[in-house]
């Protein structure tokens, strides 16, 4: 119960989405500035909970992923710190490191070019690599003594504002499965925008909480109540669980999110419409099956080239397919 915990935070820093979020009135949005100040309070709270608690912060910038801070000192800034008698020094280092590295990155973007999708996958995999290393070093440093080996209690928190990128379906699923193997819990805070199908699955499969933030101005409270307690304590307090989990997948041919798909029996590739040859393993499918599936298709979806749409009562989370 009293194990120190490691927290890896992945921040979605898509400027377009943050601008939309700040302009949003229903539900009321939040500016990136406010978000960061609330986030820093939360991160300080995590550090303050226990002396051995560790922290790593990753920024998912458009098109790249960067480690912004880690408590083991991988990221350091050379900014001269003004000593402030009223601030606990580790808090100050944390705050200034994160803020300066974010500012440095964001300054380099000009508003001219179209924004690339954020590097969420890179952040997730980097966080996993980092956790993997802390686990293995803890294991090797404590050979003989069992205590320290089991003492890392890692989890990942993803704060997202961007919609799903269908093209990252497979990498995200792979990250989820490796998180499962490492026994890492993935929590998701969705601050702005529609439900994120892949992150929902991530939270569900790793036993984390998926929280759709309804009042973004009270973000700090959401984070303190839902994401601060370590997984061991969550058995005692009830952390908001997911409403419904969407188990839809993205098809391989057009990267659309589908509900009813056509699956190759050899390699399990998913297609959104019957295809004569599997594009992944080059298996030819029997003509008879194709005929049968084509006949059956109008029952499942409106005729034409449109992909199967979700039924009416689910609030549609389909995203425009981006070319992968």
């Amino acid at each position: 119960m009293d194990k120190p915990s490691h927290l890896s935070v992945v921040i979605d820093l898509s400027l377009t989405q943050w601008t939309l979020c700040a302009q949003s009135t229903n539900p009321p949005g939040i500016t990136l500035q406010d978000f960061l100040s609330q986030l820093l309070a939360f991160l300080n709270a995590h550090i303050a909970c226990k002396d051995e608690n560790t922290l790593a912060v990753f920024g998912a910038f458009p098109g790249q992923s960067v480690m912004l801070y880690s408590s083991t000192g991988e990221v350091t800034t050379t900014t001269a710190e003004s000593t402030d008698a009223n601030t606990y020094r580790p808090f100050r280092t944390l705050d200034s490191t994160i803020m300066s590295s974010i500012a440095e990155r964001l300054d380099s973007y000009d508003g001219m070019t179209e924004e690339a999708p954020i590097g969420l996958v890179g952040c997730l995999t980097k966080a996993l690599c980092y956790i993997n290393r802390t686990i293995t070093t803890a294991l090797s440093s404590s050979q003989g003594g069992e205590g320290a080996a089991a003492s890392v209690d890692p989890r990942i928190l993803v704060l997202s504002v961007s919609p799903d990128q269908s093209s990252t379906y497979i990498p995200i699923m792979n990250s989820i499965f490796s998180a499962q193997k490492l026994k890492v819990t993935i929590d998701v805070g969705k601050i702005f925008g529609a439900e994120n199908v892949f992150l929902q699955q991530a939270a569900h499969l790793t036993g984390g909480a998926y929280v759709q933030v309804e009042r973004a101005d009270a973000l700090l409270q959401y984070m303190m109540m839902s994401f601060l307690p370590a997984p061991a304590i969550r058995q005692l307090i009830s952390v908001p669980t997911q409403d419904r989990v969407d188990f839809r997948a993205a098809c391989f041919c057009h990267k659309r999110i589908v509900e009813i798909g056509f699956v190759c029996s050899v390699c399990l590739s998913i297609f959104c419409q019957p295809v004569p040859v599997c594009s992944t393993c080059r298996t030819k499918f029997p003509m008879k099956t194709l005929q049968r599936l084509r006949d059956a298709r109008p029952l499942a979806a409106p005729p034409g080239n449109a992909p199967p749409r979700p039924p009416v009562q689910k609030n549609g989370t389909t995203t425009p397919a981006r070319p992968g």
């Binding site: 480690m67 991988e74 990221v75 590097g119 996958v121 890179g122 995999t125 980097k126 996993l128 690599c129 980092y130 993997n132 290393r133 379906y169 497979i170 990498p171 699923m173 792979n174 990250s175 989820i176 499965f177 490796s178 193997k181 490492l182 699955q201 499969l205 669980t241 997911q242 409403d243 419904r244 989990v245 969407d246 188990f247 839809r248 997948a249 589908v258 509900e259 009813i260 798909g261 056509f262 699956v263 190759c264 029996s265 050899v266 390699c267 399990l268 590739s269 998913i270 599997c278 992944t280 393993c281 030819k284 499918f285 029997p286 099956t289 599936l293 059956a296 499942a300 039924p311 689910k314």
Partner: protein
């Protein structure tokens, strides 16, 4: 320094058997490569050993020494670092050589694992006892099986006291199955086993399954007798009719009825010679059987193996949703999965929708096997930094700092090891440390740099 080939386990066994006591005084020609007793048990080595044993040692008691220290060697300064690195390098090689071809799978497998819990399992011819070893291997088997058969389901049945005993219900969740056999004291072996009762029970639990799934029974059988209420050949005929495939791993000796059960249903029969061979036999049953299409006459023949299947990905309802009747058991339940085509509520996936017949699977089940399709390209070892104008100081994955000066290698340069500890992705040109290289290729299957 690679270990001398002759030091493999099972070779010159008698000669080496007492040398671990006096080996420090032994003046070898290759004095650097003194093998000293440093136990470092490594799973893969064990497995190799098991195979070697199976080939070369007919008796279990001859294989009781686990000589794992032979594979670890110290360097000049008496440290194990070099040996460990060497071992990692060999792991890398093995991975690169692994075949990349797509594997044909039976998509949905159903298996009943029948465990012998008769008093014959208390025999100590396998260590610590047949029973403990069986439980241990069964656990590993289940984990591995679910890894390779993401859509499969396993049920567990025990045989003791002349009865078949349901230990675990058919489930697609490895944790459920492992939990069923986790409590050793509930499975304490007693009495006689009954093959017929156990097979009948397994058959009954698979009778309702849809036709596209495979039905299999795997029996771990330690006894030389079976105590049946009726004619077991009738059961065999019933299994044939239901297209159930029976495989048996016997721990004692071959029995005619076991051989018949396997041969007639298209399964595999094997008698374990020792611990390692037992594991090998059991783990051979993990990959989906290759001759399924041939074994099933009628239908469409050759094309049966490859087909396009229509599948639905459901929506899961939370525990807090208003209760409604499920279509499979007609019970009032809150949680469940909604069929995407007809919106009927079913209790568990994977299954066939009872209303519209759509096969409902959850997409994570499918996604689990995708890394076979899109493997990460092997990283190239960086030999020197001369060609890179601006080398990164830290690993792109875990941000650990790279060492500046090349380390002295222990003759492993040819095995794809980088003296700088840097491995570069051919796609995104980012550098990774050894730790991350192994982790990315073995676990994550996704490069942190390029996201592919």
């Amino acid at each position: 320094m690679a270990p001398p080939a002759g030091r493999r386990v099972g070779d010159d066994f008698v000669d080496d058997s007492d040398s671990d006591v006096s080996i420090t005084g032994l003046d070898d020609e290759t004095s650097r490569a003194k093998a000293k007793g440093k136990g470092k048990a490594i799973d893969r080595n064990k497995k190799d050993k098991g195979k070697a044993k199976a080939k070369e040692q007919p008796y279990a008691w001859e294989a009781s020494y686990s000589r794992s220290w032979d594979t670890v060697q110290e360097d000049e300064r008496g440290r194990l670092e070099g040996a460990v690195q060497d071992w990692i390098a060999r792991g890398r090689r093995r991975r690169l050589l692994a075949p990349a071809a797509a594997i044909r799978r039976t998509i949905i497998r159903h298996l009943v694992l029948v465990l012998d819990l008769s008093s014959a399992m208390l025999d100590r011819d396998m260590r610590p006892t047949r029973f403990d070893l069986m439980l241990q291997y069964a656990r590993e088997f289940i984990t591995e099986w679910f890894d390779q058969n993401p859509l499969g389901q396993i049920g567990v049945v025990g045989m003791r006291g002349g009865l078949g005993e349901r230990i675990g219900e058919m489930s697609g969740n490895p944790q459920d199955v492992l939990k069923a056999i986790s409590e050793r004291h509930k499975l304490e072996p007693t009495g006689e086993p009954s093959l017929q009762n156990a097979i009948e029970m397994a058959r009954a639990s698979m009778s309702h399954l849809p036709t596209h799934s495979s039905r299999e029974i795997t029996i771990i059988f330690g006894s030389l007798t079976t105590c049946d209420p009726g004619n077991i050949h009738d059961t065999l005929d019933e299994c044939l009719k239901d297209r159930i495939r029976i495989s048996i791993v016997a721990l004692a000796a071959e029995m005619k009825i076991c051989r018949d059960l396997c041969a007639k249903t298209g399964g595999v029969f094997g008698v374990a010679l020792n611990e390692g061979h037992f594991k090998d036999l059991l783990f051979e049953l993990i990959p989906p059987p290759a001759q399924r299409a041939v074994a099933r006459p009628g239908a469409q023949g050759a094309n049966l193996a490859a087909d396009l299947m229509i599948m639905g990905f459901p929506m899961r309802l939370p525990d807090t949703s208003p209760p409604s009747l499920c279509v499979c058991h007609s019970q009032m339940k809150s949680e469940g999965f909604l069929c995407p085509r007809c919106l009927a509520k079913v209790c568990d996936v994977p299954t066939d929708c009872d209303i519209c017949g759509l096969m409902i699977v959850s997409s994570p089940h499918l996604a689990r096997s995708y890394h076979h399709l899109f493997p990460v390209k092997p990283y190239a070892a960086v030999m020197s930094l001369e060609e890179t104008p601006d080398p990164s100081k830290r690993c792109h994955g875990c941000s650990v700092a790279f060492r500046d000066t090349p380390a002295t290698m222990l003759g492993a340069a040819g095995e794809g090891m980088s003296p700088l500890g840097r491995y570069r992705c051919p796609e995104c040109q980012n550098d990774f440390c050894t730790e991350c290289d192994v982790f990315v290729h073995d676990v994550v299957h996704c490069c942190p740099g390029c996201g592919k």
